[in-house]
Every structure is written in structure tokens, then in C-alpha cells.
């Protein structure tokens, strides 16, 4: 079996001797956008932190581009849930902090210019001199996105990046991510509990059961065609079936499957489903 570009191989996290999750295997290919959905407490943030190198798994390993991940590095940028901007720096200063990390030999002026350029890219060209306290929640998270993109990461990690925002702002920022990231150039992995967000952005959606002893129970392949548009995606054929499948999982199956492993369960070969395709076949027949 060939290894995916990013390969998560049997990672586990224990709390005392109780497993939070274990035997988690999945892969992410270059340019792919993968989302992980699950309820609170299933350890999804821990999985993201392990991918970022901020935490070490209690078992298993992560292999990226043939090399084992051990600790944080510039090739994996994180967009934090709480934006995590440094409040004493301006928007530009926060992005410049990242630019300086990537280009240590650049002179100051060039670093600042690059920071301005990246802020422009996320639509904050006019707010470069403002401190985070002077920015709205959505603008702060835009700076967070700019900071992550500024290091040209091979892998972009997002930890429920929009969950603290109001619905309107969340929508515009999802559009932004759709434009900047989900175009097939940037490999990305996102934690979310927003079904519509996952459907809009992701190529594949991993469904995680509730903890303790959580597992990735199913991989949903999102076959809805790109480019996707938040305004019209719900009218795309198959959207309804896809959405229902995920919502059903979150409402009932995630709890029913919690802590269980069916006989012959193999974490390496998680069942893959294509709910949107099923519907198309049904209507065609």
C-alpha cells in the first residue's frame, strides 16, 4: 500500500489509562482539503495539535512527505480557533512576525512589504496599522489566516477557525478560505463541527465518534463539483443526501458508535462512503 503525502499512522491519546482516541489512521494527498467532524471531547483538537507538532501522540506517528513529524515546523501553519494574535503588535506586525520566520535573511523593509502584500490578499490592506483590539472578530481571524499563509506552508491546519464568529462573518470568511485555499493548490486539514462548512470546503470529511475511545468511523467523500458557491451549493444534486448523512452521523450514530469497535474493525481501512453519488445513481435509475 502506497503511503499518502501526509500519513497519520495509528495515533492514540490516553488520559490516564483511558484512551481518548486510538488507532486513528488516515491520509491526506497533496492539494487535498480534508475536514474532520466530531463532537466536543472526541480529541479532534488534539489530533490537530499532533499534526502541528505541538503535542506528541501516545502511540503511532505522522509521516509527511516521507519524513516523520516531530515537533512544530514552518511547513505546517496553524490557524488557531482563538486567532492567537499578539495583541501588542499591529496586524502588519503579526504577519511580519511570520514572514521573518520564513525569510530570516530578508531586510526589514522587504519583510514589512511582504506582510502588507499578504494582508492585502485577505482584504485587510487598509487595516495594517491597527492593533488586534481595534479589529473586529472577523478581521482578527483574517489576520490569523494571513499570518498562516505568509509562511507558504505545505500544510495548512485549521482548528475550528470560524466557530467564535457570528454567522454572517463566518460565511464571508468561508468564502475567503474557499478562494485562497480550497482551489486545489494548498493542502489543508480542518477541524470543524459545522456541517455546511465542511461540505463547502472539503474534498473528504472524516467522521469521528464521540469519546472516550473515539475513532474515525467513516470517511465521507465529498463529490460535489468545484468550484463551489456558498449561495448555490445547497441546490447542487446530491447536496441534500450528503448533508443528511453527516447530520445523521452527528445526531445519532456518533453517540451509538461511541467506544465500540465492530468485529473485524481495522483502523487502517475505514469505510468510505459517497452519499452524494448514491443519490445521483438512484435518481438516474
Amino acid at each position: 500500500m502506497s503511503r499518502a503525502w501526509l500519513s497519520i499512522e495509528g495515533i492514540a491519546r490516553r488520559y490516564g489509562d483511558r484512551p481518548v482516541f486510538r488507532d486513528v489512521w488516515f491520509g491526506v494527498e497533496r492539494g487535498e482539503f480534508v475536514a474532520l467532524i466530531g463532537h466536543s471531547g472526541c480529541g479532534k483538537t488534539t489530533i490537530l495539535n499532533i499534526l502541528a507538532g505541538l503535542e506528541a501522540p501516545d502511540a503511532g506517528s505522522i509521516v509527511m512527505d516521507g519524513k516523520e513529524v516531530s515537533g512544530p515546523a514552518l511547513d505546517r501553519a496553524v490557524i488557531f480557533q482563538s486567532h492567537a494574535l499578539l495583541p501588542w503588535l499591529t496586524a502588519q506586525g503579526n504577519v511580519a512576525f511570520a514572514v521573518r520566520s520564513r525569510h530570516r535573511d530578508w531586510p526589514k523593509a522587504r519583510v514589512q512589504e511582504q506582510a502588507r502584500r499578504v494582508l492585502d490578499l485577505v482584504g485587510l490592506g487598509d487595516a495594517t496599522g491597527r492593533k488586534p483590539a481595534e479589529l473586529s472578530g472577523g478581521m482578527k481571524q483574517r489576520v490569523g489566516i494571513a499570518r498562516a499563509l505568509a509562511v507558504n506552508p505545505a500544510l495548512l491546519l485549521m482548528d475550528e477557525p470560524f466557530s467564535a464568529l457570528d454567522a454572517l462573518t463566518r460565511g464571508t470568511l468561508q468564502d475567503e478560505v474557499l478562494r485562497l485555499v480550497a482551489g486545489g493548490q494548498q493542502t489543508a486539514f480542518m477541524i470543524t463541527h459545522d456541517v455546511d462548512e465542511a461540505i463547502l470546503l472539503a474534498d473528504r470529511i472524516l467522521l469521528m465518534t464521540n469519546g472516550p475511545d473515539a475513532r474515525v468511523a467513516e470517511v465521507v467523500v465529498n463529490t460535489l463539483p468545484r468550484p463551489r458557491d456558498r449561495q448555490t451549493i445547497h441546490r447542487t444534486p446530491g447536496h441534500y443526501a450528503l448533508r443528511n448523512h453527516i447530520v445523521d452521523f452527528l445526531v445519532t450514530r456518533s453517540r451509538a458508535l461511541a467506544g465500540t469497535r465492530p468485529p473485524g474493525w481495522d483502523g487502517r481501512h475505514v469505510p468510505e462512503v459517497r452519499p452524494a453519488d448514491l443519490l445521483i445513481k438512484e435518481t438516474a435509475a
Binding site: 488557531f80 512576525f97 511570520a98 488586534p132
Partner: protein, 279 residues
């Protein structure tokens, strides 16, 4: 009327009532004492002349003395007769040096203690035992080991200024938000870059609060220390005027000490404002 104006008016009223009643109460009744040989009276001084103890100075006397001192603050006429400005200068010099040395030690050490739970555990008992000791209790030990009264006074300032800065630095560094440290880690910032560009600015307001407490304590302690070691300084000035039974000068000195203390506090308050951040 705006609140600010009302407060000012009330303040003026309180001061007027207080100073007015003081002025009236302290004005001596003009009952002449027993007649005395004028030559003998001159020898004894004004107080003895009236056959009373040294009178409490009136606000008007104090104002006159204050004007006398402010008119010419920087004269030197021998060791025991120097301008108020010179004495204040000595005190400020001692406080600045002692406080500066304390900051030079407390901030780096506090940084290490804040970063390392092991160091924190090791230093905590030392700090807890030494911190409540009155700084003046160190004075004899300082005089014995250093053998120089001026440097001993500076040492006493140093030892009293160190604790608030040490504790606040350690606390500020230890409570830097984990997410900011995570940002630094994912951006591959090394330990030095993280220390100077993330931890230091994050902890700076807490460190500054410690510095502000320290300078306040240092200014409290310098007066007492200078009373003990003598020679120069505003504390020595107060003690000297007590020996001269010059109560008006003591009151002037008290006011000046208060004003300088307030200025020091506001100076550090400004500095704290400059480095503070809002989340």
C-alpha cells in the same frame, strides 16, 4: 457642574478649613511670660524666651519656610547645611541606583523562575522567607559587611525593591498565554526570539506593575535608611531638623517627600501605559 470641577472645589474647601483651623489653633495667645533678661533670652532662643515648648508652626510659617527652601534649593554651606534640592538629589540617586540594580537582577532571575517550575520551586521558599523582612533589618548586616554607610543605604533599597519585581516578573512570565507560545513554536521562533518578542512583551505590563510597587517601597524606605546612616539625603534632612527642633522644616520635607513619591509613581505609571496592551 462636571464631576472634576466639583471634586476640585471640595478639595479646596477641605484644605481651606483644615489649614484655617490649624492656623487659628496654632497662633499663640499673646500672654507675656515672666520678664526675662533680654540678653539671657537671646541666648536661650525664642521658645525658651516665652517659657514654653517649641510652638507648633502655623501653615503660614511652613509656607514661609517652604519658600525659603524653594528659593535656593541647591546651596551647600558645610556638611549639615545643604539645600533641600541637594538632599533630595542624594535620596533620588540612592533610590535610582538601588532600584536599578534590583531590576537588573530581578527581571532576568524572575524570567528564569517563571519559565522553570524547578527553579520556581527552589526559589519560592527563599523569597517567601526574605520578602516579609523589614529592609531596615538588613542595615546592620550591610554596615558590617560593606563598611560604607552610603553603599549600605543603597543595598537596603536594593533588597526591598527586588521582591515585588522578582515575583511579578516570575508570575507574568509563567502566565503568558499558551496559544502565543504555540504561535512562536509553529513559526519556529528560537528560544531567544520567543523570549524577547513574545514572552517579554506579554509579561511587560505585569513586570511594570512590580516595578511600580518596588519604587514606591524604595521611596518609603530611603527616608528611614537615611535617618539611620545620616550624612546626606532627605531622610537625614528630616532627622537633622528634628535635632534643630525646626518643626516647620520637617513639615516642608514631608510635603516634598510626598510630592516626589507621587512623581516617581506617575513616571512609572506613564512607562507602564506605554508598554501595556489590550486584548
Amino acid at each position: 457642574m462636571p464631576i472634576r470641577l466639583r471634586s476640585t472645589a471640595l478639595l479646596v474647601l477641605i484644605l481651606a478649613v483644615f489649614l484655617g483651623s490649624w492656623q487659628i489653633a496654632a497662633t499663640p495667645s499673646t500672654v507675656a511670660g515672666p520678664a526675662m533678661d533680654p540678653e539671657y533670652a537671646k541666648l536661650l532662643g525664642a521658645a525658651a524666651q516665652q517659657g514654653q515648648q517649641t510652638p507648633m508652626p502655623r501653615p503660614s510659617d511652613i509656607a514661609a519656610r517652604a519658600w525659603h527652601h524653594l528659593k535656593d534649593p541647591f546651596y551647600i554651606r558645610g556638611t549639615n547645611d545643604q539645600g533641600l534640592g541637594i538632599q533630595l538629589g542624594w535620596s533620588l540617586l540612592r533610590v535610582t541606583v538601588g532600584f536599578g540594580l534590583a531590576a537588573l537582577l530581578a527581571i532576568p532571575l524572575g524570567f528564569l523562575i517563571g519559565m522553570s517550575p524547578v527553579l520556581n520551586g527552589a526559589f519560592d521558599p527563599i523569597i517567601q522567607v526574605l520578602r516579609p523582612v523589614s529592609p531596615l533589618a538588613w542595615m546592620p548586616l550591610a554596615l558590617y559587611t560593606i563598611k560604607d554607610s552610603g553603599i549600605s543605604a543603597i543595598f537596603v533599597i536594593f533588597i526591598c525593591a527586588i521582591w515585588p519585581m522578582l515575583l511579578n516578573t516570575a508570575f507574568g512570565v509563567a502566565s503568558v498565554r499558551k496559544e502565543w507560545l504555540n504561535v512562536a513554536r509553529t513559526l519556529e521562533a528560537g528560544p531567544w526570539r520567543t523570549a524577547f518578542t513574545v514572552i517579554l512583551p506579554a509579561a511587560a505590563p505585569t513586570i511594570m506593575t512590580g516595578a511600580r510597587i518596588s519604587i514606591g517601597i524604595a521611596w518609603l524606605v530611603i527616608v528611614a535608611a537615611e535617618m539611620l546612616v545620616g550624612g546626606t539625603g532627605i531622610g537625614y534632612f528630616v532627622w537633622n531638623q528634628w535635632n534643630n527642633l525646626n518643626i516647620a522644616d520637617i513639615v516642608v520635607a514631608i510635603l516634598v517627600i510626598g510630592l516626589v513619591g507621587m512623581a516617581l509613581d506617575q513616571l512609572l505609571g506613564r512607562a507602564a501605559q506605554a508598554i501595556s496592551w489590550r486584548d
